[in-house]
């Protein structure tokens, strides 16, 4: 059985429906991340936002980046954030104020920023924008390990340094009470 070309009743394609679904899920989850009171729920909403973003990468034709997004963000960074939340939160924390005193100016500035970016994007005539292209994974691998092999190695050294630095920063000093 094959799906019809466009969605019945709505009249636009499946890609568009998926794009709108993922976009809505991502924006709602991101808003929940920055507004919810319970920070564990913020972390879980962040996972939803990352997953929706991985779906958007697939629709944009970059499956390798989508896979990396799932592995690194959902698999690693979210778990790291959740563990850090569990290490640093107390029960009293959830009853306190969520926002700083500058929350209202920050909200106004962010809305202005979104409007400005949207205006610039819509007003600009993107000269090279053609049809959507799928990234060829074989060519990506060739490029990554040939032309971009130096940045690749530098990033691996950066990650190693970050891991060692994190262990050094977060380790408990010998003899420290608590």
């Amino acid at each position: 059985m094959t799906l019809p070309e466009t969605i019945p009743l709505l009249g636009f394609g499946w890609d568009d429906l998926l794009f709108l679904t993922f976009a809505a899920a991502m924006v709602v989850a991101a808003l929940l991340v920055v507004t919810m009171r319970d920070i564990i729920r913020c972390g879980l909403a962040m996972i939803i936002a990352f997953a929706a973003l991985a779906g958007l990468y697939v629709i944009a034709g970059a499956p390798v980046v989508a896979a990396a997004q799932v592995l690194v963000y959902i698999g690693a960074i979210s778990v790291l954030v959740l563990f850090a939340i569990m290490l640093t939160q107390s029960k009293i924390g959830t009853r306190e104020l969520v926002f700083q005193t500058q929350a209202v100016p920050a909200a106004i500035a962010s809305v202005l920023l979104a409007l400005l970016i949207g205006l610039v994007v819509v007003a600009t005539d993107w000269p090279e924008a053609g049809a959507r292209i799928w990234t060829d994974t074989t060519e990506l691998a060739m490029r990554l390990f040939d032309q971009y092999v130096l940045p690749f190695e530098v990033v691996s050294v950066l990650l190693l340094a970050a891991v060692i630095g994190a262990v050094y920063l977060a380790k408990r000093d010998r003899g420290e009470a608590d």
Partner: protein, 110 residues
């Protein structure tokens, strides 16, 4: 009926506007939240917004297509390093000050 949404997944502008909205949400969270870990999560949202813009440019330009994926992968790795160090610093500060709220970190002001 939904004529404005026709072929929305085929337009560069839709991805870029979405990325701008996500970046603005992240910047709001970074400016407004009191909890240090919430601020780090907002930074992750902003990094993801930038990644989405990079991927969108790559998806609609033949000369950028493969390079955009390479850049996005490197940004993801750098973001992982940033999250690791940031959370380690938050945990180290929490051990000294016993609070994750950034407006109570005022040792340099006294």
């Amino acid at each position: 009926m939904f004529s404005g949404l026709d072929n929305i997944s085929q337009s560069l502008e839709a991805y870029l506007v979405l990325s701008g909205i996500l970046f603005a949400i992240g910047s709001f969270g970074f400016l407004a939240r009191r909890n240090a870990i919430s601020m780090l999560m907002s930074i992750e949202l902003m990094l993801n917004a930038v990644n989405l813009a990079i991927i969108a440019f790559g998806a609609f330009s033949l000369s950028l297509n493969v390079d955009a994926s390479v850049i996005a992968l490197i940004v993801i790795a750098a973001a992982a390093a940033e999250a690791t160090i940031g959370l380690a610093i938050v945990i180290a500060i929490y051990r000294n000050k016993k609070t994750p709220l950034v407006d109570e970190y005022d040792a340099m002001r006294q």
